[in-house]
């Protein structure tokens, strides 16, 4: 199972009795923590563009978020500005941890497991993110970007700086599955609901063989196949 350093990711810790309500009110997916479950959700701006993706799980009295954002400082500032009188504290513990991706391991549970000093979280049943203290030595990262890209193309996984950025909404980058259609209001919800009900502007991620005469530009170029976002 190849391993890659996931240095774009940050580790945030949320503490306080209002954390669940706080994150649920600001993000696209239903946030109800249950033991060992991982929740993938997105924080959007007023125009429904992605500010950041949070992979959340509960660990003892805390909620941990493996977070990826185009502009992490902007995301944290945004979250902090929404705390107001709620009992929520946010702490960045990225510098205390290594964060790796382990991929190509077949179907995995969307669960949290703790193996010795490593916390392993399953993302969308497709790959794992591992967190472990920088007090340990970094595990050998034997994966390479090319094989990871080809694996992503084969498994239709959108990625940061390729499909996902702060200039697209979830339906424009293949992350529509992280939008809960029946939850209450959150920032950007009106726009997404309008897109869904009018079936307008929704894109689908597809994988196609590379062809020399291909007119449309792939979002991720693989060695034999590539990812494209096409209107559904």
């Amino acid at each position: 199972m190849p391993r890659l350093a996931f240095d774009e990711a940050k580790a945030l810790i949320f503490t306080g009795k209002d954390v669940e309500k706080f994150i649920d009110g600001l993000s696209t997916n239903k946030v109800e923590f249950s033991k060992s479950q991982v929740i993938d959700t997105l924080v959007l701006n007023n125009k429904a563009k992605i500010l950041g993706q949070l992979h959340l799980f509960q660990l003892n009295h805390m909620v941990v978020s493996v977070t990826v954002a185009d502009n992490f400082e902007e995301l944290v500032k945004y979250l902090e500005s929404k705390i107001l009188a709620q009992e929520v504290a946010i702490n960045d513990v990225t510098s205390l941890n290594f964060i790796d991706i382990v991929y190509d391991e077949g179907s995995i549970n969307k669960q949290v497991t703790i193996d010795k000093d490593t916390t392993i979280i399953g993302i969308n049943g497709m790959y794992s993110i591992e967190l472990y203290s920088v007090k340990q030595s970094r595990k050998h990262c034997d994966g390479d970007n090319e094989s990871f890209t080809n694996w992503r193309v084969d498994n239709l996984i959108p990625w940061y700086d390729y499909e996902i950025s702060n200039s697209v909404n979830p339906y424009q980058c293949g992350l529509g599955y992280q939008v809960h259609e029946n939850k209450g209001c959150y920032t950007g919800q009106e726009i997404l609901t309008r897109m869904r009900t009018r079936n307008k502007g929704i894109f689908q991620l597809i994988s196609r063989e590379n062809r020399a005469d291909e007119e449309s530009k792939p979002t991720t170029q693989g060695s034999e196949r590539s990812l494209y976002l096409e209107k559904s």
């Binding site: 580790a11 600001l26 660990l59 941990v64 902090e80 941890n97 000093d117």
Partner: protein, 126 residues
């Protein structure tokens, strides 16, 4: 993982918004409605707060309360006790509380000069 909660970790920093002295107004319509709601008893207060969430990021929260544990500033406007949480005072300074008498979408409305945008129902703002 290292969650930083051990003794060697630096303490969690909680950002607190700037507290401003709130100035707000109540329209005649809102005044009449509050008169009906409170009756003769002016010991109760109208709590005007803001919660995170909603379509635009913040939601108004109006409650009639006797007292609250929230750290608030108390205003007396037209004989009404108005409580404004200090944590959201920067978002509520200068607001006008109005009441719209309509069958659909009626009720108390907040006209907020600090809002850059509001959602369709008027309950949420950014």
């Amino acid at each position: 993982m290292d969650c930083g909660t051990c003794e060697s970790a630096s303490p969690v920093v909680v950002q607190t918004p700037e507290v401003v002295n709130v100035d707000l107004t109540i329209t005649e319509n809102a005044h009449s409605m509050l008169d009906q709601a409170f009756g003769e008893d002016r010991s109760m207060a109208l709590l005007v707060g803001v919660l995170s969430g909603g379509c635009s990021g913040y939601m108004y929260d109006l409650q009639i309360v006797e007292d609250t544990e929230i750290d608030c500033q108390e205003l007396s406007i037209s004989g009404f006790r108005i409580l404004v949480p200090n944590s959201s005072s920067h978002l509520l300074n200068g607001i006008e509380i109005d009441y719209e008498d309509r069958l659909m979408g009626g009720g108390f409305k907040i006209n907020n000069p600090n809002a850059q945008s509001s959602c369709g129902c008027g309950e949420s703002f950014a």
